[in-house]
């Protein structure tokens, strides 16, 4: 389990075991969507905004 700083609010965000690169997590403090860009070392960035053609 590793931690990173939220790029939006600087809160400490914990990556749960089994988290994968490309996964979206939510900052527990400010609620922003974060994309996990790397596991080792742990890194996140603000997730891309939803686009008009997104969906299933």
């Amino acid at each position: 389990m590793s931690t990173v700083a939220c790029p939006e609010c600087a809160a400490e965000v914990t990556l749960a075991d089994g988290t994968e690169a490309g996964e979206i997590i939510v900052c527990p403090d400010c609620g922003v969507d974060l994309e996990v860009t790397s596991i080792d070392p742990a890194a996140v960035q603000l997730a891309p905004m939803e686009q008009e053609d997104w969906g299933e």
Partner: protein, 290 residues
């Protein structure tokens, strides 16, 4: 001895579905690559890196990226789940409606117009309430229930002024007084895998919009309409959305070609990700046998 297959999984985000799919690949010892649609490029003079795949499973969140990737892969002769032709039909509500109408599969009453004036006239003829839907889009976004002429004029003006070119296709659908729920069915090839009721207090029942799920028994009627719907759009791995129409009975509301199943898998107790992987492997083997 059978040759070892190579599978590609095209994705945008690792949602829970992708985690389950990757897990199912690994559990089966399948040689697969994760293909992030933001990181790839296609050189039409160098198709070799793509031709190594015996099949590619498309799980892009972006309809455009997914569709163009499928078109290129199919042009290179790489089998895909689903095919570009199926994605083209399912990703566009009007194209879906057209093939359902062609094959006589029951669907809600729809009218299409290409200008706000023609759309208003069509809505007035239709009677209120009606639903205006973007032809491309998902997760219940930008649907508008229109209760009267004032609302129709306002929404049509907003769409034609603020919307992208896609929003100048006005897809008008009857508002169905459904029993607070719709039905999501998962189809894999010619098999109706499982189904779920999606309930909500809101008229939009997508689970992406907070709707909740409950197992739906597969009746012969459900099986029949889903098989016909799947055949109409070209078959494959599909999420068929059905609505219980008070007069017409079951109607096909839309068909999804990269469906999510984060609610369905736990509700049904079926390993949907595993079934998907087995289906993709089957498609890959068919290529091998050609």
């Amino acid at each position: 001895m059978q040759r070892r297959l190579k599978i590609g999984v095209l994705y945008s985000r690792v949602r829970v579905e992708e985690k389950w799919i990757f897990g199912a690949m690994e559990k089966r010892g399948i040689d697969y690559d994760r293909l992030d649609d933001r990181a790839i490029s296609f050189d039409l003079e160098k198709p070799e890196p793509w031709k190594q795949y015996d099949a590619v499973l498309e799980r892009s969140i972006s309809y455009n990226s997914g569709l163009y990737a499928l078109r290129l892969l199919n042009a290179f002769g790489v089998p895909t789940v689903n095919t570009a032709a199926v994605a083209e039909v399912c990703g566009d509500k009007l194209m879906t409606s057209a093939v359902l109408a062609r094959d006589g599969v029951p669907q809600p009453h729809n009218v299409t117009a290409f200008s706000p004036e023609a759309a208003l006239e069509a809505i007035e003829t239709f009677g209120y309430p009606v639903v205006l839907k973007p032809v491309v889009g998902s997760w219940g976004r930008l649907l508008a229930k229109i209760n009267d002429r004032d609302a129709a004029e306002a929404v049509l003006e907003h769409k034609s002024t603020l919307g992208s070119v896609q929003h100048s296709v006005f897809y008008i659908q009857e508002f169905i007084e459904k029993p607070g729920r719709d039905i999501r069915i998962i189809m894999i090839g010619d098999k109706v895998l499982t189904g779920m009721y999606r309930s909500s207090e809101h008229w939009i029942t997508n689970t992406a919009r907070g709707g909740s799920g409950e197992l739906c028994p597969i009746t012969p009627e459900i099986e029949d309409i889903c098989l016909r719907a799947s055949k109409a759009v070209g078959g494959g791995l599909l999420g068929v959305d059905l609505v219980e129409h008070p007069e017409k009975g079951l109607v096909v509301n839309e068909i999804n070609h990269t469906m999510e199943f984060h609610t369905m898998q736990p509700v049904s107790g079926i390993d949907i990700a595993g079934e998907i992987v087995d289906y993709v492997v089957g498609i890959a083997r068919m290529k091998d046998e050609l």
